[in-house]
């Protein structure tokens, strides 16, 4: 907490900003990358969104009031950036969100940066069938092993509702894998 406070102060001061930003990027890049990658699926898109996320963080750090934890705020920006990215991508391609998900999943099979086996591919297909919120909760809880309290702060949803979402998501995924 103390470290985060110091980092924040350094980020807001011109003399220390560059160094502090490097520390910030190095501390959170992997966690945020995997979070974004789970949403947009493709590496190049994840890279774009991650860079934009950090740029937004850098440009808006002076407006950060410290009402939530820094990492929750960054996760929130990363989530919003990823979802907006998918929306504008589907708009550009002139397809619906569902059609875009199908395209992304089909591309995954030939993606050089996807080394998943058949069951992992099927798992991604199952996750794609979930509503947006359940998808986020499942990825954060299952793959990133985040605590409900952390997810709660990022998604601004109560722990109880998150537990219900995760339970529903797991059941749906199990059923999908069993039936397909």
């Amino acid at each position: 907490m103390l470290e985060e406070q110091t980092l924040l102060e350094d980020l807001k001061q011109t003399e220390t900003q560059t160094r502090a930003f490097e520390t910030l990027v190095n501390t959170y890049k992997e966690r945020l990358y995997w979070h974004i990658r789970g949403i947009v699926l493709n590496h190049d898109d994840a890279d774009d969104v991650l860079q934009n996320t950090f740029i937004k963080v850098y440009r808006n750090i002076t407006n950060f009031k410290g009402e939530s934890k820094l990492y929750s705020w960054m996760y929130r920006i990363a989530t919003n950036e990823s979802l907006s990215f998918l929306k504008s991508k589907s708009k550009k391609m002139g397809v619906s969100n569902v059609e875009l998900q199908e395209t992304l999943l089909n591309n995954l099979e030939s993606d050089v940066y996807f080394e998943g086996n058949e069951i992992q591919l099927k798992l991604q297909k199952a996750i794609a069938t979930l509503p947006e919120k359940q998808k986020l909760v499942f990825n954060m809880k299952y793959f990133q092993e985040m605590k409900y309290e952390e997810i709660s702060e990022i998604l601004e949803t109560s722990v109880g509702a998150l537990k219900a979402s995760y339970h529903l998501a797991s059941k749906k995924i199990e059923t999908y894998i069993k039936e397909n």
């Binding site: 860079q51 440009r59 109560s158």
Partner: protein, 172 residues
């Protein structure tokens, strides 16, 4: 071992006992809990994370801050431009200049083009300062209005559980 039910009258399907082991194993495997892999299978290019900070820094230097003009606030931009034009007009008269422009001299298409293509650099805070919140309506943000049917459709399609509404007792 003594044979059971030798003369009970019951009969077995042909090859039942011979095939019993296979059918039992099939049943067990079909009921076995589905194991969901705990890795997504995604990978990243070599050295991707090592070069990330440099890439972001380069991008930060290259890209100036960009503010996307908000279409819904267009009408307030018109007012702002109109006010600015009137002030300019008065200043022009007071300074005894010969060139007199009025807001009517500016074509609407020019105002549109100005708003569309000029980086106005208004932050949401600046807009908030001149836009009275009380006078805002949902239709200023959304082109189409929301009726009850739309809301019910949304809840039906996008919510799997009432729990997702995240209503605590004090919300009612």
């Amino acid at each position: 071992m003594k044979k059971v039910n030798k003369n009970s009258g019951f009969k077995l399907p042909k090859n039942y006992l011979e095939n019993f082991n296979d059918s039992l194993l099939d049943k067990i495997s079909s009921q076995e809990e589905i194991k969901i892999p705990n890795k997504e299978g995604f990978t990243v290019p070599k050295d991707y994370f090592d070069t990330l900070h440099k890439n972001i820094s380069d991008k930060l230097e290259d890209t100036p801050t960009k503010v996307i003009p908000l279409k819904s606030y267009k009408k307030y931009y018109y007012s702002a431009i109109a006010a600015a034009a009137i002030i300019l007009l008065f200043v022009g008269i007071n300074l005894n200049k010969t060139t007199n422009y009025s807001i009517e001299d500016i074509a609407n298409s020019d105002i549109d083009a100005y708003i569309e293509y000029t980086d106005l650099n208004f932050s949401s805070y600046e807009i908030a300062e001149v836009v009275p919140v009380d006078n805002l309506d949902i239709t200023d943000i959304l082109d189409a209005g929301i009726n009850e049917e739309n809301i019910i459709d949304y809840l039906e399609d996008d919510l799997d559980s009432f729990n997702e509404l995240n209503l605590d007792s004090y919300d009612y």
